[in-house]
Symmetry: C2
DNA sequence: ATAAAAAGGTTGACTTTGTCAACCTTTTTA
DNA sequence: TAAAAAGGTTGACAAAGTCAACCTTTTTAT
């Protein structure tokens, strides 16, 4: 089993990155939106008109939980729902103007945090970092759904 | 601001890796121990005799929350506490035999999951993956405390 | 054509997870 | 030596997430 030592190293990276993401998330908590909500806003933004079940599939979130989050976002007027014409079971979700704005605010805050993280790097290091990240994604992407 | 496009790419990786870790965590939920508990067991295992405040520092977890988790782990007889000789405020925590065993079980389950993730890779790809991970850690580590 | 099954969502009840402040004890600092 | 700080514990609470029941619409099988 040649993977033995390597899984250990992968786990070390996972711990490292879990911590890092934890740090990045903390500021989200200061912004009245949870990580889940931010991810959902992201999916709606990129999906334009997306159904709840699309989000469930992408984020692997419980549908009851999602339903409640969407209801909250709707009450805050960040999203709108409308019935799909083709299928009366599905509701199509999209961001309102306010929703887009909040989404961008979250992005900016997140950018700032990441900026702080990489502030000491020069351009070469930054390019390296991103290349490594992309390499990891392509290596792992194949193995997933 | 040359970081602009790059933060975007970093965020893409963060989303990717958040999803991946989410997948890896799900099995933890099937094992009656939470991610936090697993991380705490890990810290106690590697720290041998560690204080609660050490864990708080490492994992940035609330001390009340930690106290309760430790109490639970103690009731399950996975850890033991004893007063520090040098400082009567601190309690030193260590794993019991059962605790070590559970820790290894969690590790094995986790290894299995990671094994499934990388099952289609050949040795070269696997080495590449780990090299990329290590490179990211060294690039980012400097920027953090 | 139609009954059964499946899919999209919502809701209620509940558990887990995490937060916050007050508090006690011991140690450190001024 | 009094005040402040550090290590932990506890109670009260809020947030996050889970689970099953349910309703409506669509699909599938006969």
């Amino acid at each position: 089993m040649y993977t033995c030592k390597r899984t250990h190293e992968i786990r070390a990276f996972n711990r490292f990155y879990t911590d890092l993401l934890g740090l990045l998330d903390t500021h989200l908590l200061e912004s009245e939106y949870s990580l889940a909500e931010a991810r959902i806003l992201y999916e709606i933004f990129t999906g334009r008109e997306i159904s709840a079940s699309d989000i469930i599939q992408k984020l692997k979130v419980d549908k009851g939980y999602l339903s409640r989050i969407l209801k909250k976002l709707e009450k805050q007027e960040l999203i709108t729902k409308k019935l799909s014409k083709g299928d009366a079971r599905v509701t199509l979700i999209s961001l309102t103007g306010d929703g887009v704005e909040v989404f961008h605010q979250l992005n900016n805050a997140s950018d700032k945090q990441i900026g702080a993280l990489i502030t000491e790097m020069n351009i070469t290091q930054l390019d390296d970092l991103i290349n490594h990240m992309n390499a990891i994604m392509t290596l792992l992407q194949k193995s997933r759904d």
